[in-house]
Amino acid sequence: MGSTAESTGRVAMQRSADDPGPMSPIPHRVVGRKVETGDVTTLSLVPVAGEAWRFLPGQFNMLTAYGVGEAAISVCSSRREVGPFRHTVRDVGPVTAALCRSTVGDIVGVRGPFGTSWGVDDSLLATGDVVVVAGGIGLAPLRGAIDDLVHRTDAAGGRVFVVSGAREPAQVIFADDLEAWRRDGAEIAVTVDMAPTGWRGHVGLVTSMLSEIDFDPSTSSALICGPEIMMRLTARALVDRGIDPGRIRVSLERNMQCGLGWCGHCQLGPFLLCRDGPVLPYAGAVAQLLSERER
C-alpha cells in the first residue's frame, strides 16, 4: 500500500515497480461477500500480492470496480479481526452497483486508507462513557470504532452506548455484531422508522432514544454517523443533554475522487474532507457548516 494510516511524510516521488504511486489501486481479491440488506453488501478483501495494510477505524478507501470507476468506502473491519478487510457498500450508483455485484474470486482495486479516524485511541475517549449514534448505513464506518471501544481494556474507560436507527427492521445491518457487542457489555438500542407487524423493538427517531440512555454528559464523548440531517439533529440533542461539542465527532460526506486532497471535490468550507475529515469534531466550524445551505 502506498501509505499507511501512520505515514505523514511525503511519499517518494520516484516510483518503483513495487510502488505504482498514490493514484494506482492495489488489486485485492474478494474472499467474502455478504448481502446485508437489499442494496447493502459487505465485501471482504485481501491483497492479491503483498502485505496487509493498517488502518484506523473511521478511515476510508477508494475502491475500484475495474472499468467502471472508483468510490469512497469506509473500512468496516475491526482491528481485532486478523483477516480480510471488510467494506460495506450501498448500491447508489454505477460504481457501487458494480462493487455490490462482484463475487468471491473477483478483483477489486483498493487505494488508501485515507482521512481521519474516530480517534478511539486518543485521550478524549479514554475516560467517560461513549455514546455512538448511527443512522442507516452510517453504522458501517462506526463498526471498527465500536468494536475497539467495547473491547478496550483501559480500566478508566466508561460504558459504551450504541443507538442505531434504520428505516425498518429488514434494513438493520450488522445485527450479529450488535448482539455480540451487547453480550460484551455495550448497551445497544436499535430503533426503526417503520415497524412491520410483530416487531417488538423500538420505533422512533434516534434522538428519541437519547433521553432514555443513562450516560454521564459531563465526561461523555459521542460518535455520530448517518445522513447529514440526522447527524446535526443528534449532535444538537447531545449538546442539549450537556455533552461538550468538542467531544462529539461526526463523519461527513462529500464527493471524493482522489482521497489525497488534490481533486477539490470534497470541499466543505475550510475543509478538504478526504484530508481533514471525514471524521471531524462537532465544534465551531463544523456545527456552523452543517447548518449552512449548499456548502
Binding site: 447508489v92 443512522g135 448505513i137 434504520a166 407487524t197 420505533v203 428519541s208 432514555e212 440531517i229 440526522m230
Partner: protein, 156 residues
Amino acid sequence: MMRPVAELVASHPLFAGLPEGTTAEIAACARNVAFLPGELVLAEGQPADTLFLVRRGRVAIEIHAPDRGSIVVETVGPGGAVGWSWMFPPYRWQFDARALGPVGAVAIDATCLRAKADADDALGRLLVTRVAGVLLQRLQATRIRLLDLYGTDRAR
C-alpha cells in the same frame, strides 16, 4: 418497596425541576399502575381520561388496520409519557397504546388534573407548557421520520 407516588411524579422528566408544592398538587391526582405484556394501556375511541408517565418498560403507540393488524407508529420508554387526548375536547383516544413488556407507570387522572388547572392559572400554564414541549419534540421527530432519511430509493 414502592416509592411514594409524589416522589415518582417529581422525578419524572415531564415534571422535572418543579417546586415540591406543584408536584404534590399533581401527585394528588396520581396513582401507581402496572401493565402486563401485551395489555392495552389505552384504547382508540375510548374516553381520554389519563396521562401516563412511563417509569419502566416500553409502550407501543399503535393503530389497527383490518389487513395489517396493529401497526406500531412509535414506542415510548422510561421517562416518556403517553396519552395527550385528555387535554383537548372531545377527550377521546386517537390511538391504541399497548405494553410491550411489563410496564410500570404513574397514571394521572385527567379530570382531576383539569380541575386543578382550571382552579390555578399558574398550574394550568405550567401543564400546558410542559405538555406542549413534549408534543413539539414528538412532532419534530415525526416530521424527520417523514423524510425517510435512510430510504433506499432516494438516488434512483
